[in-house]
């Protein structure tokens, strides 16, 4: 098991370097010299080249990348052109919000997808109902679902706040009330994906002989489903959860914008609109790294569930 983890980790590290280098190279070469942006439109060419020299923007791209990476590893991503704040402080305040939102959504949708599909008997009506809900929740864009929920629960029924973020310091209740609609919006999409993946796998595991053997022991249908089918069918869902969690490092972009949540996603959109190069680069790199790492974690969890991998060392 330890060897397995090491092997995977050694494989992931160079991938992170390659991906972040590509990102760095593309952004630096396409967005033009940062000096021009920092100095503004009326900067003289002389001033720009002076600054280029001073900051090393003329150096080969790989040298610039290594410099950036070295600083980034120490938590220094530079300053935002737009807000003049350090990028790390911006990310420091935005990332926890995105992660909290994402974890709620992944956990709720994961539990709902696995639970509903394992426990509800495969009758004609309940089965097609779950597939219909799954299909709709995959195809409805987050902005549409978010807008609908805001209209129904915040504007029409006035049960819940429309938007914005209430930090924990506002009290737990307020915090959670503000989270309900965004979490529901984000969960819907993941519920659909998880449910489709899990159902397909469940169906194939259901026909395995060991399931019949479990029933032949006299176990109840629920127990057979939870003890024997579930652990064998949940693996692809875990893989997908890993990918999803990694993607959420970039924030639930659309959902955060719909509900005006100051997470990574909204920060990222603002940076893109304002060509805020250090912020785009930092968030891009965090997404890529987060994704590779969460994928790795998912692989390890799957290996750990499977005794054949766990016991070989």
């Amino acid at each position: 098991m330890i060897r397995f983890v090491l092997k995977r980790a050694i494989w992931v590290a160079p991938n992170i370097l390659i991906l972040t280098f590509l990102l760095f190279a593309i952004l630096t070469s396409w967005l033009g010299s940062p000096s021009a942006m920092m100095l503004g439109l009326d900067a003289s060419p002389a001033a720009i080249s002076e600054m280029n020299r001073a900051y090393g923007f003329d150096d080969p791209i790989i040298q610039q990348y290594v410099r950036w990476l070295w600083a980034a590893l120490q938590g220094d991503f530079g300053r935002s052109y737009a807000t003049k704040q350090t990028v790390s402080s911006m990310i420091g305040s935005a990332l926890p919000i995105s992660i909290e939102l994402g974890l709620w959504a992944i956990c709720l949708s994961g539990f709902a997808a696995v639970g509903l599909n394992s426990l509800i008997p495969r009758g004609k009506i309940s089965g097609s109902l779950i597939s219909a809900v799954s299909v709709v929740s995959i195809t409805i864009p987050n902005f549409m679902l978010g807008a609908t929920l805001v209209y129904v629960f915040a504007i029409y029924l006035r049960w819940l706040p429309t938007s914005a973020w209430a930090p924990w310091s506002d009290g737990i209740l307020d915090h959670l009330l503000h989270l309900i609609l965004p979490v529901a919006t984000l969960s819907a999409f993941y519920f659909g994906s998880f449910s489709m993946i899990y159902r397909a796998e469940y169906r194939s595991v259901m026909n395995q002989l060991f399931v019949r053997v479990a029933r032949a022991k006299g176990l109840s249908a629920t127990r057979v489903s939870l003890q024997h089918i579930l652990p064998n069918s949940v693996l692809p869902v875990i893989t997908f959860m890993g990918i999803t969690l990694g993607q959420l490092m970039g924030g639930a972009v659309v959902t955060e914008v719909v509900f005006s949540l100051p997470g990574i996603g909204r920060t990222f959109v603002a940076a893109i609109r304002g060509n805020d190069y250090p912020v785009i680069l930092a968030i891009g790199a965090i997404v890529l790294t987060g994704m590779m790492v969460t994928n790795l974690i998912a692989d390890i969890v799957i290996a750990w569930i499977n005794p054949q991998v766990r016991l070989s060392s």
Binding site: R212, V213, G218, P231, N306
Partner: protein, 327 residues
């Protein structure tokens, strides 16, 4: 004393409407306590559907549409899931054909045997359960069971896994063990060991057994009575001795012919030509007549029923006894 299991007019269908397939078509059988019944036939003849009907484990598309399955005085053909759960694993246990896929790859074999024990024997301390499992692993001759109990299926050979399956089936001391092709997937040397084991265990525990196989050789030494099935029906049912010495159905003769025997290897083997008919297009009359070397014109028309040819011997052949008309 009444039989432990009596099956009357059992009919099991898959699918529905016009396209339904009748896998078991009017089968009558009985098994006495402590006795062994062999059920023999080619694959696709309805043997497995028969055993799954008894266990109440038919897949979703399948159901029992007629007949009774009387186990220990009670009809369980349509018993509720709750009642079947108290019977399955406890009073009727089953061993399947594929030991390689019979065990859940994610759990230790000890855990998987314990599941059956805990389901039927109420509260059991971990220590007591462990002791019982080690004991039952001993009885199926698994070496060093104290260590093996914590192993996972992938760490065991096919023969070992089949022993685990037998241990699991025996753990709650069932009255009836259904073994569905228990040795087919195993190496020849292991096959004999497993059969010997089953025979010994039966002698020790006095349980009844239904041994399902496509190979008459497998049941030769173990079965008291043998039922030969073809295309969903029983075509011949007799004591084992009668089947081997005095078979009256051409299909049984064909199956016997496919067992190579040293003493009469000069005799021409009666191999069966052709294939089992598709359940969607069954021949009229005797279902075996298109493949039968004795077939006469009336075989395709008559409705042929099991008729007594001797004491304790019934056969569904119009032309029985076939003594004089060997082709």
């Amino acid at each position: 004393m009444t039989a432990l299991l009596t099956i009357q007019g059992l009919r099991t269908e898959f699918g529905g409407g016009d396209r339904s397939i009748v896998a078991v078509d009017g089968v009558d059988l009985s098994v006495e306590r402590g006795a062994t019944l062999g059920v023999v036939g080619e694959s696709g003849c309805g043997k497995s559907a028969l055993s799954l009907s008894i266990m109440g484990l038919l897949p979703e598309a399948g159901r029992v549409t007629a007949g009774r399955i009387i186990f220990d005085g009670r009809d369980i053909a349509h018993a509720s899931p709750a009642i079947m759960r108290t019977i399955r694993g406890k009073r009727i246990a089953m061993v399947f054909q594929e030991p390689m896929t019979s065990l859940n790859p994610l759990f230790t074999i000890g855990f998987q045997i314990a599941e059956a024990l805990r389901e039927h024997e109420g509260r059991l301390t971990d220590r007591a359960a462990r002791a019982r499992i080690i004991d039952v692993l001993h009885r199926v001759r698994i070496p060093s069971p104290e260590r093996r109990i914590d192993e996972y299926p992938h760490q065991m050979s096919g023969g070992m896994r089949q022993r685990v399956m037998i241990a699991m089936a025996l753990s709650c001391s069932p009255d009836l063990l259904i073994a569905d092709e228990p040795t087919t997937a195993l190496d020849v040397t292991v096959q004999a060991q497993i059969l010997d084991l089953l025979g010994e265990l039966q002698a020790q525990t006095g349980m009844a057994m239904i041994l399902i196989t496509h190979d008459l050789g497998v049941v030769a030494e173990m079965a008291d009575r043998i039922a030969v099935m073809y295309a969903g029906r029983i075509v011949e049912f007799a004591t084992a001795a009668e089947i081997f010495d005095n078979a009256q159905h051409p299909y049984t003769l064909g199956l016997l012919g496919s067992i190579p025997r040293i003493e009469n290897d000069r005799e021409r083997l009666l191999a069966i030509e052709g294939a089992v008919p598709s359940p969607l297009r069954l021949p009229s009359g005797c279902r075996f007549h298109p493949r039968c070397v004795f077939a006469a014109p009336e075989c395709s028309r008559a409705d042929i029923r099991l008729t007594a040819v001797d004491v304790d011997h019934v056969s569904a052949c119009l032309r029985a006894p076939v003594e004089g008309i060997r082709p």
